[in-house]
Structure formats: structure tokens, C-alpha cells
């Protein structure tokens, strides 16, 4: 590659050429295969370096997300060392009692309350949605100011009626502020669609019924959650407790 060519390529890519100069360059590009190859090489190198160094906010957020998921999914399993202990009958009986208490766990009757707590993860770069308002809603939600989050989400849902994420989180704010019927209506809509929030919505539908002391309906919704979905374990925990 001649230096002159390279300099022109860089000026062309950077938009530093005059109009007439650019025209000449583009004409040459159409006929000179070597020049074209050099231009493609330059662009490819530039993109590679960009992916390596741009390290912008979204790239960093993505990598942080991976780090935390890695910790969750690639934990080395700690094998408990098996010990054989000789115990006499009295201890044996006591041990059984303790195990029984742990299973029965009367102090743990609000197991589903612990699941009612969730973080709002808003998605960056979702086309039509107003980003500032979405961010404000997310911040309010995660600061547990559900009334404020609800107020911010309502107009967003109105503007984007097909956005399941917004509808799902609006439902959660209604659930948290005890507007159970409205929450259920939003969860039902989301659950009916082929949405990635489909089973989250089913899960929170069940929690809403539990808040209303309707265990039968709650069970119906928990049983709708299939084994391979993320919510299955939580649903099973609650079903076992009911």
C-alpha cells in the first residue's frame, strides 16, 4: 500500500476531503481493486480497535452483567465432606426433631414475601421509548418508590402499548401499591403474549392472588410455569409451602 493512498483513505474515512477531491477518490475506488481492498482493511482494523478500546458505558454494563451471571452459573460446587458420626438414640431423636422443624419452618411462613422483592432492569437502547423517563422510572422502582415509578410508567405504557417490559413493571408497581386488580390485568395481558416476561407475569399473578388470600388461584398460576423457565424453582418453593 502506498503511503499516499493510505493517507487519502484515512482522510476519506474521516470526512476530511473536499467535495471534488472526494468525487475523484470515489471514482478511483470504483476501478482500482487494490485501493478498495486497502479501504476495507482500514475499516476492518478500525472496527477491531474500536471493539477493543471503545469501552463505553454499554460495553462495560454488558461485561459487568456477564461477570455477575458467571458467578451465579459457574460456581464451583462445594462437596461437603461426608462424615460418619456415631450417635446415640437420644441424639438421633433430637436430630430428627430439628430436621422436622427445618422442613416445617413455622417462622418461614412468608416465604413468598421474599420473592415479592425484585429489581427493575431496564433495557438500554429500546427504540421508541423515552430513555430519560424510562431511566427515571427504573431509578424510582429500584429505590422502592413504587408510587413514583407507577406515575412515570403509566404514560410510557400508554405511548407504547405493545411493550411487555413496561407493562410488566407497571403491574409490579401496582402490586406493590396494593392495586391488585390493575396489577392482575397487566400480568394477564403480558402472560398471554409470547413475551420474555410471560412466566414472570404468571409468577407475580400468583403472588398477587396470595396477597388476596386466594391460594387456589395462586396454585393454578404457579402450575402454569414450565420446568425450563427461570421462575420454576421459585414457583416450586412456594407450591411446596402452600
Amino acid at each position: 500500500m502506498e503511503n499516499q493512498n493510505l493517507e487519502n483513505i484515512i482522510r476519506y474515512v474521516n470526512g476530511e476531503m473536499q467535495a471534488n477531491e472526494k468525487e475523484v477518490f470515489e471514482q478511483e475506488l470504483a476501478t482500482n481493486i487494490n485501493l478498495k481492498e486497502d479501504l476495507l482493511l482500514y475499516l476492518n482494523v478500525d472496527k477491531t480497535l474500536r471493539s477493543e478500546f471503545s469501552n463505553n458505558k454499554t460495553d462495560r454494563a454488558f461485561k459487568e452483567n456477564l461477570v455477575s451471571l458467571n458467578q451465579q452459573y459457574f460456581k464451583a460446587e462445594q462437596k461437603p465432606t461426608a462424615k460418619i458420626i456415631k450417635i446415640n438414640r437420644l441424639w438421633y431423636a433430637a436430630a430428627i426433631l430439628i430436621v422436622g422443624l427445618l422442613i416445617w419452618a413455622p417462622w418461614n411462613h412468608d416465604i413468598y414475601d421474599k420473592y415479592a422483592d425484585t429489581e427493575m432492569v431496564s433495557f438500554a437502547e429500546r427504540g421508541a421509548v423515552n430513555q430519560d423517563n424510562l431511566q427515571a422510572a427504573t431509578d424510582a422502582f429500584n429505590a422502592k418508590d413504587f408510587n413514583k415509578a407507577k406515575g412515570l410508567l403509566q404514560p410510557l405504557v400508554k405511548e407504547n402499548p405493545d411493550d411487555d417490559m413496561l407493562k410488566f413493571y407497571l403491574g409490579l408497581t401496582q402490586f406493590q401499591t396494593k392495586e391488585y386488580e390493575k396489577a392482575k390485568s397487566n400480568f394477564t395481558t403480558v402472560n398471554k403474549r409470547a413475551s420474555i416476561f410471560k412466566y414472570d407475569a404468571a409468577f407475580y399473578m400468583a403472588l398477587t392472588y396470595l396477597k388476596q388470600d386466594n391460594k387456589a388461584e395462586a396454585k393454578v398460576w404457579l402450575n402454569k410455569i414450565p420446568k425450563d423457565s427461570d421462575e420454576h424453582q421459585k414457583a416450586k418453593d412456594i407450591l411446596d409451602n402452600l
Partner: protein
């Protein structure tokens, strides 16, 4: 132009850091990769590293180089991870990887092609970065800083040079880099 596979949503989800989609990838595939690597001289940590590196490769290719998926995601991603592990073993000079002829038989041509294409791209990127390391430190600093989101004027100020000088120097540095790559590629 090849048809884009409906599983392209996995790549879109990675680019937009869509938590649900990224988690779906972990939930569906992490166990498979863990099992493969544990059965082939690796640890759980190795499996985690390979998995994470493959996702970052995909993210970069999709975001910066416009990779489009023309085959189903699952076999493609699993093949990518397995190859990455195979290469890591080769580097450590451990003889590999128990054959998965059975799995391989089930992988269709388009998956292989796309995995190979991606691997070629990765190798190319590695070469570019290796050459980049051979630039002078000043050149490396100037190029890497100018590719961040910061304002170029601000970068010039931080480096203690004028904006015009920064632009000129960056072009020179890029030119040396491209010449080195050309030479290396023969």
C-alpha cells in the same frame, strides 16, 4: 445475501444487554459447556471463562462488525465454546478433547460454516491487535484514547497537545499500523 435466522434475537439481546436474553443463554447452555469442559481436562472456572469469552466475542462481532446469525444459535454457540476450549488445550499442550463425534454428526453444514467464519474473523482481529502492540507507546496511547467516547478536544488537552496535532498523529499511527499488518499478511 444469506437469510437471517430467527435466533438472531440472541445477538440483538447481547448487543442491547437485555438481561432476560443474556440470562436465557446462561440458563440454557451453561450446564452443557460445564459438562463438556469438566470431561475434558478443565475446571468449572475454565468453563466459566470460555463461556464468558465466547459471549464477549459474539457481542463484539455483532455490535462492531455487524455479525448476523444465519444458522440456529444453540449448536453454533456450543461449537464456538468447544473450539475455544480445544484451542486453549492445544496452547497448554494437553492432548484434547474427547471426541464428540456423535455431537458433530448432528451439526449441520451452515453451523460449521458460520463458526469457521467467525473463527477466521477472530484470528484476524488477534493479528491486528498483536501488530497494534508493536506500535510505539505514544501511538498506542493516541489510538486507544481517540477510540473512546470522550471528546477529541478533551483527549488532546489530556495529552497536552493541540487538536490538530492529535488528528495528524493519529492518522500517522494508523498508517504505520496498516502498513505493518499488510506486511505481516504478505
Amino acid at each position: 445475501m444469506q437469510k437471517i435466522h430467527k435466533d438472531q434475537y440472541f445477538l440483538e439481546g447481547l448487543i442491547s444487554n437485555n438481561h432476560k436474553v443474556v440470562q436465557e443463554i446462561y440458563a440454557k447452555f451453561s450446564d452443557k459447556i460445564k459438562r463438556h469442559i469438566l470431561n475434558n481436562n478443565g475446571s468449572v472456572d475454565d468453563a466459566g471463562d470460555v463461556f464468558q469469552e465466547c459471549l464477549i466475542d459474539l457481542y463484539n462481532q455483532a455490535k462492531y462488525k455487524d455479525l448476523k446469525l444465519s444458522c440456529p444459535f444453540e449448536p453454533f454457540f456450543l461449537l464456538m465454546c468447544k473450539r475455544k476450549w480445544l484451542n486453549a488445550l492445544k496452547k497448554k499442550a494437553i492432548i484434547p478433547v474427547t471426541n464428540n463425534e456423535e455431537d458433530l454428526l448432528n451439526i449441520s453444514e451452515d453451523v460449521f460454516l458460520q463458526a469457521e467464519e467467525l473463527e477466521a474473523q477472530q484470528e484476524q482481529s488477534e493479528l491486528y491487535l498483536k501488530m497494534f502492540q508493536k506500535l510505539s507507546e505514544r501511538c498506542q496511547e493516541i489510538i486507544s484514547l481517540s477510540l473512546t467516547d470522550q471528546h477529541q478536544e478533551k483527549i488532546a488537552e489530556d495529552l497536552g497537545v493541540t487538536y490538530g496535532y492529535l488528528r495528524k498523529k493519529k492518522s500517522e499511527c494508523m498508517a504505520s499500523l496498516i502498513l505493518m499488518i499488510r506486511k505481516e499478511q504478505g
